[in-house]
């Protein structure tokens, strides 16, 4: 310890201001790579189970009776919704648990914040790392759908970017909530059962939203899942949406993301300063 390896101005604060969030991503990746078998098997097993049970089992039934949905095979209809659902689920896991850990269980965010890294950068880093995992999972999912013959054309892959939009919009928002919540014991269990499940079931995932009664449709309207699924169906096989609704879908997702990330920034900064 007798020597100083660097100069007196070893730390260049401008470097941290530019790249601090990436150091947070690097930390998240180091942790994530420790659990790589779990990450990979979850990314493969979940889609396989879904596709076998719903895509093939239910799909066969539907295709047999009505020749598909919305003019395409049931699996092609389902694919954008399944990808968006996977993106939301992965974004939720990777945004919520590291946030709870960083603030409460392990307090690693306080360690990060003792360096020039700001709360905003920590939030951005956590979300970015979550999105990398989402990208990995939906790419694996997309490949499996492709192998099952679920894409009616090469355009099927366009459901991947729309699912990423769902992950980013929902992930930023839920990360802010995770930073805000003090008591995490019940919260995310309740969220999973009473918010995630209804969103999944009533967002036009398995059937078009217009087939359910009007008094249930609002769930879909408020769900990023419905908006990205509609966009995904439009892009992958030409499902009809009006230009107005196209703008509404994009606008909703952008608004949710912008509100979500701002909300997360405020919550992160506030929690670190407590």
């Amino acid at each position: 310890m007798a020597t100083r390896l660097g100069s007196l101005k070893l730390v260049d604060v401008n470097t941290v201001k530019r790249r601090g969030a990436f150091a947070v991503v690097e930390a998240r990746m180091m942790v994530l790579f420790k659990y790589i078998p779990g990450v990979v098997s979850a990314a493969v097993a979940n889609p396989l189970l879904y596709l076998i049970a719903v895509g093939i089992g239910v799909g066969k039934l539907i295709n047999h009776h009505s020749g598909g949905v919305d003019g395409v095979k049931y699996l092609a209809f389902l694919a954008p919704a399944l990808l968006s659902t996977a993106a939301i689920q992965n974004a939720m896991d990777e945004a919520v648990f590291p946030t709870l850990e960083g603030f409460k269980w392990n307090k690693t965010f306080f360690a990060m914040n003792a360096t020039p890294i700001t709360g905003k950068q920590i939030a951005n880093g956590v979300l970015l790392a979550a999105m990398l995992r989402v990208l990995f999972s939906v790419t694996v999912y997309g490949t499996i759908i492709f192998l099952f013959g679920g894409f009616s054309s090469a355009r099927g892959w366009l459901a991947i970017p729309t699912s990423l939009a769902a992950g980013a919009a929902f992930g930023s928002f839920i990360m802010g909530i995770a930073a805000w919540t003090k008591n995490d014991d019940q919260f995310f269990m309740i969220l999973n059962r009473f918010v995630m499940m209804p969103l999944f079931l009533f967002s036009g995932t398995f059937y078009q939203l217009s087939t359910i009664p009007i008094y249930l449709r609002w769930i879909g309207w408020l769900s990023p899942l419905w908006h990205t699924t509609e966009l995904g169906r439009y892009l992958t096989y030409g499902h009809h949406i009006s230009p107005l609704m196209f703008v509404v879908h994009i606008g909703f997702l952008c608004a949710m993301y912008i509100f979500g990330i701002r909300f997360a920034h405020v919550q992160f900064e506030r929690r670190l300063a407590k």
């Binding site: 660097g6 730390v11 604060v13 690097e26 003792a114 360096t115 020039p116 890294i117 700001t118």
Partner: protein, 312 residues
């Protein structure tokens, strides 16, 4: 004020922190100079950690002024943090990562280049005596090892000021001595140390200058020896007459010396020559069950200043 050993690194004027009706730090003034080892001594809740967090630019103040390295922490948080090494009261190491990985990623948070960090890690592992634990996950380390790793981590960026909040709380005596040895080496190398503690022996071992705090206020400020000289006698005679008799015999003892302190289990008598006082006591027919002559410590200073012991 600008160069060399006298350069002021931290300066606080009328610094205050309030949480609603509760005042954690109540208008304090202090200065810390380069190369100094400066301690905040006080019981739990004295406002030490709050003051440290304001210096570390992680907590905003409610009043007064403070400058760290000539900058206001509320305007230049990252700029100040770039030069600080922070060892918090509770370890916040990344439990999922190994010893080495914890050092590596912390260097990355400071934006340091990988080759520099790789070299630095070897030096820090040796300093923290953790070279053979480099690949071990943090959760498998003992309390003392975690503490040393947290200190090593704080040094990865070669900070100008190393801040330690209760560095040895919860450690066994041997682990404390190893840690003190490491901190003493840093002090010898001229690293400016800022330490909070409620252990008087720690304050005496490590600090050049001390600020005694209680209830958010500064009670006194000087070197450990200077404080003892100003607020206590050279020696202390500790006598026990049995818990039921201590209080009744106290008035008689009070007549013999300028100052006594009656604690639940013993009476402290302040004198220049403890042995002579004990002799005098025996001559008067006052025979304590046990007696002990010792030098005055910061504990006595604190007792004098606040009427309470450091660890309640």
């Amino acid at each position: 004020m600008n160069n060399g050993d006298h350069e002021v690194l931290i300066e606080a004027k009328n610094l205050a922190k309030r949480y609603g009706d509760f005042t954690a730090v109540d208008g304090i003034d202090f200065q810390v100079r380069r190369g100094e080892s400066f301690g905040f001594l006080g019981p739990n809740g004295a406002g030490k950690s709050t003051t440290m967090r304001i210096i570390a630019a992680t907590l905003t103040r409610s009043g007064g002024d403070i400058s760290i390295l000539g900058k206001d922490p509320e305007k230049f948080g990252p700029e100040i943090k770039a030069h600080l090494g922070v060892v918090p009261q509770a370890d916040n190491l990344d439990q999922a990562l190994s010893v080495e990985e914890n050092l590596y990623i912390y260097g990355r948070y400071f934006g340091l280049a990988k080759p520099f960090i790789r070299t630095k890690i070897e030096e820090l592992l040796e300093f923290a005596q953790l070279t053979d634990k480099r690949s071990v996950k943090v959760e498998a380390l003992s309390g003392g090892m975690k503490r040393r790793l947290t200190i090593a981590r704080a040094l990865v960026s070669e900070p100008e000021i190393l801040m330690l909040d209760e560095p040895t709380t919860g450690l066994d005596p041997q682990a404390r001595h190893i840690l003190w040895d490491r901190l003493f080496r840093l002090k010898e190398q001229g690293v400016t140390l800022l330490i909070t503690t409620h252990y008087m022996d720690e304050a005496e071992q490590l600090c050049d200058r001390l600020m005694v705090m209680d209830k958010g206020k500064i009670m006194a400020e000087d070197s450990p020896a200077g404080l003892i000289k100003s607020y206590s006698s050279r020696e202390v005679l500790e006598v026990r007459f049995g818990s039921d008799r201590n209080a009744t015999i106290a008035p008689q003892l009070q007549e013999l010396v300028e100052r006594i302190e009656v604690l639940p289990d013993r009476i402290l008598m302040y004198a220049e020559d403890g042995e002579a006082l004990l002799h005098h006591l025996n001559e008067k027919g006052l025979h304590p069950m046990t007696s002990l002559v010792r030098r005055s410590s910061l504990e006595d200073v604190f007792l004098r200043l606040t009427g309470r012991t450091l660890i309640d």
